[in-house]
Symmetry: C2
Subunit: 434 residues, 2 copies
């Protein structure tokens, strides 16, 4: 099968992440597509081949984007420069040259997306822009295809990672806004001029884009009522907690009979909602559909590699559509072939463990249990026992350090034969994250 050839314009954060993934994940990508994506041309202001990830061998390395879009071998151009100056020339130049375009450019798409799309449509090429909002969350794919059949009524977003990070710090450490902002600037999480982030302007552009995808409307970001987070203080989190709420910079859009209410502003959000758990520099989108009810999506808002995943996923989708094989044959299982596989023997897996016992209380229990664990080279993390329980049917817990499951199972098997056991121990792994 024919490979598809890429021209990458811009090697900043997102461009570097994209090249890293195209190089390091090339075999996985080929297994999914059934053909390879070649990095045929790259362009940046100061590109040097020695800076490219190992495994890439572009035919063209240049500082002139015109050479990339006009290169006869290039099928798809990725515009990863950002801004609305040269980036717009690159996108429009590529479309005029009959190339499909993938872009990560929020500003350009928010301001000129519709006009660019119409040009692409006239040329019979594709415009793809998953990376333009919520870099690490595939929210375009979700709204455009995954839940396309629904009628979305309400959409909430936490769309600015910097302000969410600042609010989380105020909540968890009780620090004042200005102190947290200064620290975030020192750590590089916030810009020297933080206005776009903390006054809500960045989030408002993203909300306008999401509203296009969710409701089919074209909003002017400046028309969206917008307030930032500068006035939120630790005392507000104290009171919010009394109301079983947290505080988030919430982007919201509600469809009603005669239009759309939209706003970007700090709001109290019930801790009973899944969205209240979004902490630090993460983004999230929560939608309610007339038919599908609530769905919720969460991931990194930005970063070279998360945004690079969005760019590469778009490149794969567009590459499939360009391929001589029928475009609709997107493999239902995501890969072009599935390898028959046996799971690994679970006994080899190391986890932390929770062992819960029901025993008839008597002296020497901890000694007997800890001896068996020691025999199997398993370390105890903690012993937990609630007060005032029935001594004839006493439930207590031992947690274990990271241990191979085979050893834990063997120890539990041996423990279950001890005379004071009311029932075999219950063994559950402890998961702190994926």
């Amino acid at each position: 099968m024919k490979d598809v050839n890429l021209g990458i314009v811009g090697l900043g954060n997102v461009g570097s992440g994209t090249l890293t993934i195209l190089a390091e994940n090339a075999d996985e990508i080929a297994r999914k597509l059934g053909f390879r994506l070649n990095v045929t041309a790259v362009c940046s202001r100061s590109v040097k081949s020695k800076n490219l990830p190992a495994g890439l061998a572009p035919k063209l390395i240049t500082t002139d984007w015109r050479e990339v879009v006009s290169h006869p071998d290039v099928d798809i151009v990725a515009e990863l420069i950002g801004g609305t100056g040269t980036a717009r020339e690159v996108v429009e130049g590529a479309i005029a040259a009959g190339k499909s375009v993938v872009t990560a450019n929020k500003e350009l798409v928010a301001l000129e997306g519709v006009s660019i799309w119409k040009k692409a449509e006239a040329q019979g090429v594709t415009l793809a822009m998953e990376a333009s909002v919520c870099g690490g969350i595939p929210i375009h794919a979700v709204l455009r295809e995954g839940i396309a059949g629904d009628h979305i009524e309400t959409l909430f977003g936490i769309l600015n990672g910097t302000s969410n990070y600042i609010l989380t710090e105020i909540e968890e450490n009780g620090s004042a806004f200005n102190d947290v902002l200064a620290e975030a600037q020192r750590l590089g999480y916030a810009e020297a001029d933080p206005t776009a982030d903390v006054d809500g302007f960045d989030a408002r552009s993203k909300l306008a884009l999401l509203a296009s995808l969710a409701f089919g409307v074209q909003l002017t970001p400046g028309d969206i009522p917008t307030e930032g987070i500068r006035r939120i203080s630790p005392i507000d989190f104290h009171y919010a907690k009394q109301l079983d709420c947290t505080i988030k910079l919430l982007c919201s859009a509600r469809r009603v009979e005669d239009g759309l209410f939209v706003s970007v502003r700090p709001a109290l959000l019930s801790k009973k909602t899944i969205m209240a758990g979004v902490k630090g520099a993460y983004n999230a989108v929560w939608s309610r559909g007339k038919f599908g009810a609530d769905t919720f999506y969460y991931g990194r808002g930005a970063g070279p590699n998360p945004t690079g995943v969005a760019v590469v996923s778009d490149l794969m989708r567009v590459a499939r559509s360009l391929h001589p094989e029928p475009a609709h044959r997107v493999p239902p299982f995501a890969y072009t072939d599935l390898a028959a596989a046996k799971p690994l023997e679970i006994g080899r897996q190391h986890r932390h463990w929770y062992l819960r016992f029901r025993i008839t209380d008597q002296p020497g229990i901890i000694r007997d249990l800890s001896s068996i664990l020691a025999e199997h080279s398993i370390s105890i993390d903690a012993v937990l026992q609630l007060p005032d329980l029935d001594k004839q049917n006493l439930p207590f817990v031992i947690t274990l350090e990271n241990s191979p499951e085979s050893a834990v199972r063997a120890a539990v098997e041996k423990m279950s034969k001890l005379p004071f056991m009311v029932e075999p121990p219950l063994a559950l792994p402890i998961e702190r994250g994926v």
Copy 2:
């Protein structure tokens, strides 16, 4: 533009939800596609035209699925019968007749998916199956396209709504497993024979399917180590809480150097994770990619309308690919046109409100504030004041009943001129859900 014609086979829960959405959401669907989806043929054991949603006028209503798959006008067949008997005949019959197929059938896809897909490929037609696992979450679209560029390392799932509902009830009400199960059966949330749900077998089939999409492997569900939730008791939630954890029936798959660890079993899950907030009959998937880091997806696991959204979204995707216009022109903004729109005047929106004041303490403050609120026909919900605060800069809070924003803004404007105000009141909406 040419419409695309559908044959719907099976009018149980999912079939009814699908028809409801195709009827009630027809205009929205057409705005997204640029053409219409017609329900041309329907088949069920006891179909009557008077039971169809208003607005549908199929040419063929039959009890014989063969008439649907062989109908010359039908472009796509939706198999919504379930099971592996007749359903398989329908799917294979439709493919043999050159029709693309959308299915919601987990059992069939888990057992025969690859063989059916190869038949579809040979015939040049499409097989789509978004509804087959996590009905309300577009996890197929996410894994197949949205984050296709990533290399997934770990995947966690809460894939059985019934067992998650039971665990949530044990945790929140301290009831015993058997009592909660009996109540769930009485309410229709659990089957008379609950084995598939509470012993993990349903979740294990779904995990096998997700592992195909995430890792490109074909697992036999019976090879996956599986434990159910029958032994989880309220005491385990007490101890889990001491460890800052909850307990979930966790489906897990980890890719390591030489293969995949997979399991379905109850596990302690840190309350610091976003997944710990998944309560009741919801499903969720959490993945960690080598490049894109953590992403998380949440929604209804089942139900006629959420699953219907998945079926209709698949029908839309396949219909686009069949359409004479180039298949790759999936509109980047999800709709074929965007309507330029002004947001509604935000003052008309009704919300609950949080007003936080900083005042110099003196008599009559509550009287003055409540008078202004009463003038604007706004009802007070609560007055909150933390003890032991600086009386010269006293922050306290009034929360308001559901009120129009224009009235709240006018009242706040008037309040900000009161002599005891240290700064203008801070007004934040209170959101309990989307």
